[in-house]
Every structure is written in structure tokens, then in C-alpha cells.
């Protein structure tokens, strides 16, 4: 599978987009490719990630999975893509607040299990939240919730992993641990990574960097 971005321009944008390497350009993202989208806040990183994931449609141009225009996809078809082709880490995390960390992970894992349930413990241990697993998500700190969201995105099969400022609340050590885990998991699946952040992240190597 590949993702094609064709001349996407958000409806609301009012600034000059001639300089942009993404807006109104044609971009093809293939499996195994790593793309790093860099932009200051408020320039549409989250919008772009949402356009690709199909949560928003307020743009001109087209996003297509292979040659399927996502604007024409039904909710039902989207769900099958999200089940095992596309995974995402939201900037606003989007966890079930009243469920425990483990329940949050399990809800995603059982939809299309790529890992056995024990993997939840292993990953939680690697990111240092193994003692938070039985705690309701809303009682975890934002940094802990961010790590739950990262693990959740790695529970399913995927060809593309979308990351929207996934480390915003992690310290340097945890950021490193998380990056290593994400890289390992992407490699296992030969998956592509679309990584949006404020500035180029030094931890990443050999990424194609696109300025928004």
C-alpha cells in the first residue's frame, strides 16, 4: 500500500503556501519510508495527520490509499483500513478516560491482535509504566498517558504509522526508549512512518524531512 497526497490545501489556510513542501504538492509515501514533517505549531500538522487518517475532509486536493480517494470511503471501509493498515498516535492522545491503561490497550489489541496480551506488559515495562497498567487512564499523568497511546498504536498490524507530536510530554530518556520501540515495531512490519513534530528531532536518522 502507498499513500498519495495530491495538491492538498486546507480550506481554512490563509498564509502563503508556495514555500510549503507539503501543501499543494504531490507526495507519495511508500511502505518502509520514513517521512518527518516539521512545522511550528499552528501551521497544520495535526490537520494533515487527520486528513491522512480520514478524520477531516475540509481540504481541496486528494488523499488516496493506493488509488482509493479517501473522500469517497465509507465509515465502514475506513474502519477496515484503521484496523490493520493505518495506526495513529494522536496529539491529544484520545484514551478511554474511565478505563484502565490495560483496558485501553486491550480494546485496540483484540480488534486485530498482532501481539499476544503478554506483550502489553513487556512494552509497558520498557517505557516504565508497568505499574500504571491497572490504573484508570484519567488518573495517569499526561506523560504516562502519552506512553499508553504509543503502546496502543503498536498493538495492531499496520503499513503506516502516523505520529502527531508523540513525545511532547516525555523526557529525553523516555523519548529515546519510545523511539527505539517504535522503530523496532515499524521494522517488524516493514511499515512506513509519518512523523509530525515542531522541529527536526535529532533521534531520527535518515528521515525524509518535509517542511510544512
Amino acid at each position: 500500500m502507498q499513500i498519495n497526497l495530491q495538491e492538498i490545501v486546507p480550506d481554512y489556510i490563509d498564509k502563503n503556501i508556495n514555500e510549503s513542501q507539503v501543501w499543494n504538492k504531490n507526495i507519495v509515501i511508500k511502505k518502509t519510508e520514513h517521512v518527518h514533517i516539521v512545522a511550528p505549531s499552528g501551521t497544520g500538522k495535526t490537520s494533515l495527520i487527520h486528513f491522512i487518517y480520514g478524520l477531516r475532509k475540509d481540504y481541496t486536493g486528494s488523499v488516496s490509499y493506493d488509488d482509493i480517494n479517501t473522500k469517497k470511503l465509507s465509515t465502514e471501509s475506513f474502519s477496515s483500513f484503521r484496523k490493520n493498515k493505518l495506526s495513529i498516535i494522536f496529539q491529544d492522545l484520545r484514551l478511554f478516560e474511565n478505563q484502565t491503561a490495560r483496558e485501553n490497550l486491550e480494546i485496540k489489541r483484540m480488534l486485530d491482535p498482532y501481539h499476544p496480551p503478554e506483550m502489553i506488559n513487556e512494552m509497558a515495562k520498557r517505557l516504565g509504566i508497568e505499574n500504571k497498567l491497572e490504573q484508570a487512564a484519567k488518573t495517569c499523568s499526561y506523560g504516562e498517558q502519552q506512553r499508553i497511546a504509543i503502546i496502543r498504536s503498536l498493538m495492531q498490524p499496520f503499513d503506516f504509522l502516523l505520529l502527531d507530536e508523540p513525545y511532547s510530554h516525555l523526557d529525553e530518556v523516555n523519548r529515546k526508549k519510545a523511539t527505539t520501540l517504535i522503530y523496532e515495531e515499524c521494522e517488524k512490519r516493514n511499515a512506513a512512518m509519518i512523523f509530525a513534530d515542531l522541529k527536526p528531532i535529532d533521534l531520527l536518522k535518515g528521515e525524509k524531512i518535509l517542511m510544512l
Binding site: 478524520l55 465509515t75 465502514e76 474502519s79 477496515s80 483500513f81 484503521r82 484496523k83 490493520n84 484520545r94 478511554f96 474511565n98 478505563q99 483496558e103 486491550e106 480494546i107 485496540k108 483484540m110 480488534l111 486485530d112 491482535p113 498482532y114 501481539h115 499476544p116 495492531q156 498490524p157 503499513d159 517488524k188 512490519r189 516493514n190
Partner: protein, 407 residues
């Protein structure tokens, strides 16, 4: 896709369990939910019971109902008043023609009386002797016509159809007169000697009761005998009918009744009471059934409000589930399925209560239970299944509808 040896295909093939998702659907302790269940139960019960009772009444009242053919037969005669006493109160040909013209009348037949004298004795068995009147009517108007109810000139045995009301009256007075009481079966073995006489001579016949009639209050002989007798004994062939029978689809037709009243015709109201009672009972039961449907509709509406509330409450969770890749179709089916046991319980409970009420109905004194099956009629079962499927379908539709509003 490259996968690290896990999971074995069997595990991945497992159907997705709804158990972990269920806590995300916030149902709440909602009063309208229980009211909805209750209403649905009452509605389904009303509908099932009224259906069974409708069938019970139908079956009971057609078993010994004069209206076997779907027609009512009513007897009319001219009302005898102080003014017309002593005048000719038989129906004229014009009267008959006018009656035939009525759209409600499917046929008329005069009761032809004997114009000669008939004296009856019951032979040696019963010391009994009386003057008799005989009548004849078109066979199509008699409810019970055995094949033996025919007469040819020269035949000495005359078949008679006897009114069952007369038999009843006879049995009431017989003991006081030292006469034996008779059952409908033994009456056919009573030998009646008919002495017919007129201005042209006399002749003796053997009368034989071949059937009892619930419909016609008379002693009926075949038309051929009456014609022959009237001609032979009194030389009179004109028909002097003071009573006629009307065949109609509905004896309670208001237009027919008002016409008969206008003409000062007297009508045997008792005979139409039966069908009237049946009509009233079935109307009551049908109304009950309609009421049941109404209650079901209201309950489902209440339920849809509850569903809307529930889905509105769980909106964020449901939206997130869809975002995470849960199929809307699967979610709708799973959410709808949670009510399956409740609906099943309601339908089964309603069926059980209907069965109990049916059994109680069979215990009632006026019900001849032998005519009715103790098991509910098949159409009641069918109705229950249809209601169950329909409720599930409507429920699923409602859930799908609400879910589709989320994205």
C-alpha cells in the same frame, strides 16, 4: 504482512468479543428503559391474548351457530296489532318482491302452512294426541337437512324436521303429563301417526322425525308433501305465508332492520342475538388487539428515546471506537444484540401468560372445552415470532440510525 510468529491463525479468527466494549456504552439506570420494557410486555401480551380469544370465540360460536354458511337466517312475520287482528296478515306477492329487492337480502323463502287438518298421535309408546300444524320451506333455508328428507306421492312415511326448541319445551312438561322425556336421538324412533283430513277426504301417514332444527321453530315437512297435501285435501294451491325467512349476510344491518320496522314486520330478535353477541365480543377483543398494537408502538417510541439518550451519553466513547477502527456495522449489531435476551424474555413471558389465560378461559362454564385445543393457536405462535423479529429489526434500525449520526 510480516508477522513475528504470532498469533496462530486460530486465535486471530476468533470473533471479536463485545464484553470489553460494553462498559463503554453508558446505559445508565434509566426509568424510561424499564417503562419501555413494561410497555412492550403489556402490548405484546394484549395482542397475543386478543388474538387467541378472537379465535376462541370464532371457533366456539361457529360450532353450534346457525350461521354456518356465513349467512344469517331471520324469520319475519307481520306484527299482529289490535287494528289488523282478524284481517289477512299473510305476505302478499308485492311484499315478497319488495323484500327481494333489498340489497341486504340474499334470498327469501316463505313458510307454507298446511291448509288441511292434521291430527297426530304418538302410537302406543306415548299416550298423546293433538292437532298439529305443519309447515314447509325451501330446503336451502333449513340448517339440518338429512338425505331422507324427501317425499314422493304414494309414500306413506313423511319425514319431519322438528324444532329443537319444541323438544326442549316438551321435555319440560312431559314429566307432569306422565310422558317420557326424549333425547334428540330417541325422538327419531318415536312413531307419529298423522291423520290428514280435508274437504276432499282423509288419509293416514306415518311421521318420522329425521332431524332437529335450531333455526326454524316449526314442524317441517318436505315441500312436495305440503304441495300435494294442500291440493289433495283442500284443493288450495295458493301460498298463504304468514312467516317468511330472510337470508342475509348481516342480520344486524341497520338499514335492513329499519326497513323491517317501517313495514311493521315482526322479527325474531332472539335468533340474531347469537351473531350479535359474537360480533360484540369480537369487536371488544379486536379493540383490545388494536390497543395492544398502540401500546407496542408507544413502547418502541419510548425505547427509541432511551436509545438516543444512551448513544448520546456514550457518544465520545463510540466515536473513539470508530476512530480506532471498530466497524460501525459490528458496533450496531453488538449494541442491538444486548437487548435480544430482554426481548426474548418478554415474548416468552407473554406467551406463557397467554397460555395461562387460555387455559383459564377453557375452565369457564359456558365454554365447551372439548371443541378447543388447550394449546395456543398456530397463528398466535406465528404472531409472537413476527413480533420478536420485528422488534429486533426496529431496534437494530434505531441503533444503526443513531450510530450513523456520530461521525
Amino acid at each position: 504482512m510480516n508477522k513475528p510468529g504470532f498469533p496462530p491463525s486460530g486465535v486471530r479468527g476468533l470473533p471479536l468479543s463485545y464484553k470489553k466494549i460494553q462498559p463503554l456504552i453508558i446505559s445508565g439506570k434509566n426509568f424510561s428503559k424499564w417503562l419501555g420494557y413494561f410497555g412492550l410486555g403489556i402490548g405484546v401480551l394484549l395482542l397475543l391474548v386478543s388474538m387467541q380469544m378472537f379465535i376462541n370465540i370464532q371457533q366456539l360460536l361457529t360450532k353450534d351457530n346457525p350461521r354456518k354458511t356465513g349467512y344469517d337466517f331471520i324469520s319475519i312475520s307481520k306484527t299482529i296489532t289490535n287494528e289488523n287482528m282478524g284481517k289477512d296478515n299473510t305476505f302478499t306477492n308485492a311484499d315478497l318482491d319488495n323484500l327481494k329487492k333489498l340489497p341486504q337480502v340474499q334470498g327469501i323463502a316463505p313458510l307454507v302452512p298446511n291448509q288441511f287438518r292434521v291430527r297426530a298421535t304418538a302410537g302406543d309408546l306415548i299416550p298423546f294426541s293433538t292437532d298439529l300444524f305443519l309447515e314447509s320451506i325451501n330446503n336451502n333455508f333449513i340448517d339440518t337437512v338429512p338425505p331422507s328428507f324427501t317425499w314422493q306421492p304414494g309414500q306413506t312415511v313423511v319425514p319431519i324436521i322438528f324444532s329443537s326448541d319444541f323438544l326442549e319445551i316438551y321435555n319440560v312438561f312431559a314429566p307432569a303429563q306422565d310422558l317420557p322425556q326424549l333425547s334428540p336421538k330417541t325422538i327419531s324412533s318415536v312413531n307419529i301417526v298423522l291423520e290428514c283430513s280435508g274437504s276432499n277426504g282423509s288419509q293416514t301417514f306415518k311421521g318420522n322425525i329425521v332431524a332437529l332444527s335450531d333455526r326454524i321453530n316449526s314442524l317441517l315437512v318436505p315441500e312436495t308433501f305440503m304441495k300435494w297435501g294442500n291440493l289433495h285435501f283442500s284443493g288450495d294451491t295458493t301460498v298463504h305465508a304468514s312467516r317468511i325467512y330472510i337470508k342475509t349476510k348481516d342480520a344486524n344491518d341497520p338499514q335492513l332492520i329499519s326497513y323491517l320496522d317501517q313495514q311493521n314486520y315482526h322479527l325474531n330478535k332472539d335468533k340474531i342475538k347469537f351473531s350479535r353477541i359474537k360480533n360484540i365480543l369480537q369487536n371488544i377483543v379486536s379493540t383490545l388487539g388494536v390497543f395492544g398494537i398502540l401500546v407496542i408502538v408507544l413502547a418502541l417510541m419510548l425505547f427509541s428515546f432511551y436509545l438516543q439518550l444512551m448513544i448520546a451519553r456514550s457518544k465520545d466513547n463510540l466515536r473513539l471506537l470508530l476512530t480506532l477502527g471498530y466497524s460501525p456495522q459490528w458496533l450496531a449489531n453488538s449494541v442491538a444484540k444486548t437487548w435480544l435476551p430482554v426481548y426474548l424474555f418478554i415474548i416468552i413471558a407473554a406467551l406463557i401468560i397467554t397460555e395461562i389465560l387460555h387455559i383459564l378461559f377453557l375452565q369457564l362454564s359456558f365454554v365447551s372445552a372439548a371443541n378447543l385445543s388447550p394449546v395456543l393457536n398456530w397463528s398466535v405462535w406465528l404472531l409472537a415470532i413476527v413480533l420478536f423479529v420485528l422488534t429486533l429489526f426496529i431496534n437494530l434500525k434505531l441503533v444503526k440510525n443513531e450510530l450513523s449520526k456520530i461521525e
